[in-house]
């Protein structure tokens, strides 16, 4: 008979436990989970990349909804357990659900510590623990105002870097004299502070917060020495406490955390605890590696293996802030019985320190260069006697035994049991073993099978080196996701080969690049069609059957199968006759909905497909052309009224917007392109969240790019300042062409820019006049073939089969 297993909390620890349990005893339990957070299990340690905008929430989900369904697990999302009745063996949630258990697992994690100062509950004071906190921070960041992060530890610094990436002005307050003092010695703490400050984040150490004040919401933070720091957002990241209150109320033994034995069992034999809420051998933990070990043990115990026991091991700490390399392990305090070896290289910003006791490593701090971390960790774990290599130890593994080795050789030299992935405790042998025995060829496969580099990702480089060592040349570390399952090639490779081999039709691409399917799929065909349109504007015959329906019929399909029609209104400007023509069309075709769009023009919705050509014919009479509201192409150029009308306008922003739109309309791009021109820095056209934006200033035109305001919100980067309208147009066109030639299909400008680098784009467009001109010329050439109004073409009969049924079968015949 299956037993009932109930789990309280759906964090990383129980998630891992279930994976092991499903492996070991798939049918033994009927599992029910209650999670106070209204969501599935996600990778909490990747919240910082979500905050900084480097990842989306969807990318950090560990178990999607389907996983629970597949394994028959009931997950109550947004249900907080408020009582455990140990006598009746039930738990009850705040929504009133009561569930009986045979075995109960408590995995309630931690609660962030809130410093007891006045004002700590004002709106605008947040902690940093879950996705809701991240969303609240991202929302607050939209104001681009000032943030104060209290706490200069791992979490605080990651929050600070994320908020800064979101455009906030950030100050970190840290009560100790140096940052991350629990993981770093003062020298490394100092280097870290410098690196953080170099990014524009202010750091105040020895900062004793006295009060948070404000009228109804946070306005400032006051320190004990009288310093006042203005802030609209305060993030407290000062530590965590095991979340053990629920267990305590139920009479389960609790000390700092829920007290469990080495088998993760509490004083009630049917109740287990694991994760940050558990205390084992007097220790509580706050990093995933030991929690995963707990998960393994708890799963074994639940599967009936009573010998499984938790063993403590030190976990290295790394900071997940791009560009800051830091590694800390074990005990690095000074002491009479200890010696240290230090290496400093000021010009390279490198600091390394090893703490030794009895010729064994007991602690390591590495800053600026951390490649040897895994090796030092291994020496420490095995308690290797290092006296033989003492003189060269600090220089790392590659210096041992004569001539320096390259990094690849260093990885090759690691023993099979050297830990590669600290988060998941995966050693070298397990990874190389899985690659060979399971025939793994991609990083994703290795992640899926071994979990190595699947959590924080900081060991990805090492894992890739292992793949190169094991697979030889067949593994290309730069290998990217294939375009789709029809090919093994990635987008960049396909784009390169189209040019290099002069491939000019979709069948030619599929033949030459050895497509695995006969005629592609809905993912690769539109991409290939775009690449060919872009690369061979004069020679390639657009393949309409490879376009998404919207681009095939030049209107947007709606949920009921009708279409919407959005004509261009250049720069958002219209006239009485245009409005009258729209009104007439709306009446004549009984169009049910007319709406002003977010892009400064008018949308007519609910038009029958058969009517489209006639609607376009009428609109065309009034001078309208297609607004390409459906296209991966130039959409709108929003403008403000500018110097013609506005008392603050510095240039003719409306005029420039219209000029850009008239110059660039009709062009196909990898993803949609939206632009805006504002007449002064007040920025009423919202140019700083567009793919390309212009802010007019007295001295000229400040060109912005790589903004976004849809799925992601991101302020633009500044490309540069130019003096004249002509120059502005040339730079914008060149930038767009560079994007057209390089980006992957469906990749918006901001994502492309992140991949190739803002600096590189500036170099090619701002500094290299020749390159810029060449891009510009190629765009102008391709416009010769692209600037054809698709509506007038279709109103005069092109593709007419698209708009009519092939035949109609009448009632009489059908009823026979």
């Amino acid at each position: 008979m299956t037993e009932k297993l109930v789990i309280i909390g759906n964090g990383m620890a129980p998630g891992r436990m279930l994976e092991h349990l499903l492996d070991k005893a798939p049918d033994r339990y009927q599992v029910t989970i209650f999670n106070a957070e209204p969501r599935v299990n996600y990778d909490r340690i990747m919240l910082s990349p979500v905050l900084s905008g480097e990842k989306a929430y969807e990318e950090i989900i560990i178990h999607g909804d389907g996983w629970y369904i597949k394994h028959g697990i009931t997950l109550y999302k947004g249900h907080k357990i408020v009582a455990i009745d140990r006598a009746a063996k039930t738990v009850t949630s705040d929504h009133g659900v009561t569930e009986p258990y045979d075995k109960l697992v408590i995995a309630t994690g931690s609660v962030p510590f809130i410093i007891p100062v006045p004002g700590n509950n004002l709106p605008g004071v947040l902690t940093y623990r879950d996705l809701d906190d991240v969303r609240a921070m991202m929302l607050a960041a939209q104001s681009r105002a000032k943030a104060v992060v209290i706490g200069g530890g791992l979490l605080g610094l990651e929050a600070a870097a994320g908020l800064q990436a979101q455009g906030m002005d950030v100050t970190v307050l840290h009560v100790m004299p140096t940052l991350m003092e629990r993981q770093l010695d003062p020298a490394a703490g100092y280097l870290l502070q410098r690196a953080v400050e170099e990014r524009g984040i202010k750091v105040i150490t020895k900062a004793n917060t006295q009060a948070i004040t404000g009228n109804g919401k946070v306005e400032q933070v006051e320190l004990a020495d009288g310093t006042i720091i203005p802030a609209t957002l305060v993030v407290m990241a000062v530590g965590i406490r095991p979340n053990a209150a629920l267990a305590k109320e139920a009479g389960v033994a609790v000390n700092r955390g829920i007290v469990v034995d080495a088998g993760m069992r509490s004083n009630d034999p049917d109740i287990f605890a694991l994760g940050e809420c558990a205390e084992v051998n007097g220790m509580v933990y706050g990093l995933v590696a030991p929690l995963y070990e707990m998960a393994r043990v708890a799963a074994s115990q639940l599967a009936g293996d009573e010998a499984a026991a938790f063993v403590h091991s030190d976990t290295p700490t790394k900071l997940k802030v791009t560009g800051i390399e830091l590694f800390s392990l074990g005990d690095f305090a000074d002491g009479d019985d200890r010696q240290e070896i230090v290496l400093r290289d000021a010009s390279a910003g490198v600091y390394k320190r090893l703490v030794l006791k009895d010729d064994r490593i007991i602690g390591t701090v590495l800053y600026g260069e951390t490649a040897d971390g895994a090796w030092f960790n291994d020496l420490k774990k095995k308690q290797t006697d290092i006296s033989e290599m003492r003189d060269t130890l600090i220089f790392g593994q590659s210096y041992q035994g004569g001539a320096p080795l390259d990094p690849m050789a260093a990885v090759a030299a690691l023993p099979d049991d050297a830990e590669i992935c600290g988060c998941n405790g995966v050693c070298k042998g397990k990874i190389t073993g899985a690659i060979t025995s399971k025939g793994l060829t991609s990083l994703d496969d290795v992640r899926a099978h071994t979990k190595a580099s699947a959590s924080c990702g900081s060991c990805t480089g090492l894992v890739e080196k292992l793949m190169v060592l094991t697979l030889g040349d067949t593994y290309n570390p730069a290998a990217v996701q294939p375009m789709c399952s029809c090919t093994t090639l990635g987008h960049d490779e396909v784009r390169r080969l189209i040019k290099a081999k002069g491939l000019k039709t979709i069948p030619a691409v599929m033949q030459e690049l050895e497509w695995k399917t006969s005629c592609g799929c809905a993912k690769c065909r539109p991409a290939l069609n775009y690449y060919l349109v872009c690369d061979w504007p004069d020679e390639y015959a657009d393949d309409y059957q490879s376009r998404f329906i919207n681009e095939r019929v030049h209107a947007n399909i709606q949920k009921d199968g009708t279409y919407s029609v959005v004509p261009r209104m250049w720069g958002g400007v219209t006239s009485a006759s245009e409005l009258r023509a729209i009104a007439d069309v709306v009446d004549k075709f009984e169009i049910p909905m007319v709406k002003v769009t977010g892009g400064q023009r008018i949308d007519m919705l609910g038009i029958r497909k058969e009517d489209l050509p006639a609607v376009w014919a009428d609109l065309g009479q009034a001078g309208f052309v297609s607004g390409h509201a459906y296209a991966k192409g130039l959409r709108t150029v929003k403008t403000c009224v500018g110097s013609d009308w506005c008392r603050f306008g510095t240039q003719d922003s409306t005029g420039l917007g219209i000029r850009i739109e008239k110059f660039m309309w009709g062009s196909w791009t990898p993803a949609k392109v939206k632009m805006a021109v504002s007449g002064c820095p007040r920025n009423c056209a919202e140019a700083t969240c567009k793919d390309v934006g212009v802010i007019c200033v007295d001295s000229g035109y400040e060109i912005h790019f790589a903004g976004a305001a849809g799925l992601d919100i991101k302020g633009t980067e500044v490309l540069g300042l130019v003096k004249t309208e002509d120059e502005a147009l040339e730079h914008i066109v060149a930038l767009t062409q560079m994007y057209r030639e390089q980006a992957r299909y469906l990749e918006r400008i901001y994502k492309w820019a992140k991949r190739v680098g803002i600096a590189e784009i500036k170099r090619q467009i701002m500094d290299d006049g020749e390159k810029r001109r060449a891009y510009y010329d190629r765009f102008v050439f391709s416009q010769k073939f692209a600037q054809v109004d698709p509506w007038s073409e279709r109103a005069s009969g092109k593709d007419k089969h698209e708009f009519r049924p092939m035949a109609s079968v009448g009632f009489a015949e059908a009823a026979e």
Binding site: G66, C521, F548, P805, S808, A814
Partner: protein
């Protein structure tokens, strides 16, 4: 079995589809890259999307609304999705195409 003429194969673009209007709703008639012809209801099993407007690849079509992939041969959703649309027998005689009338009529029942 009664076959109703609906036109010729040339009326449908390769890797494309056309509709046939009937009193019981639209039928989508597809022509693949290698000139096979299939007919299914123009109504996605997911949320009723017009399958005739999707991208045709191999003997399958990707729905334009939410990208389900439907097999033209069986009418079944491929991959992880579950559902099916009815298929309607089509016959080709030379260039001319015919739909099975009974199949159309019985839809209403």
């Amino acid at each position: 079995m009664t076959w109703i003429a609906i036109g010729t194969i040339a009326d449908i673009p390769r890797r494309g589809a056309r509709c046939v209007a009937t009193p019981h709703g639209k039928i989508a008639v597809f022509r693949t890259a290698d000139d096979e012809v299939f007919a299914i209801e123009d109504h996605c099993p997911h949320k009723g999307g017009p399958l005739s407007q999707g991208i045709v690849h191999g003997a399958a079509v990707t729905c334009p609304l939410h990208n389900w992939v439907i097999s033209l041969e069986t009418g079944k959703a491929l991959g992880a999705d579950e559902g099916a649309v009815r298929t309607i027998p089509v016959k080709r005689e030379g260039e001319r195409l015919f739909l099975a009338l009974e199949a159309l009529a019985s839809r209403a029942a």
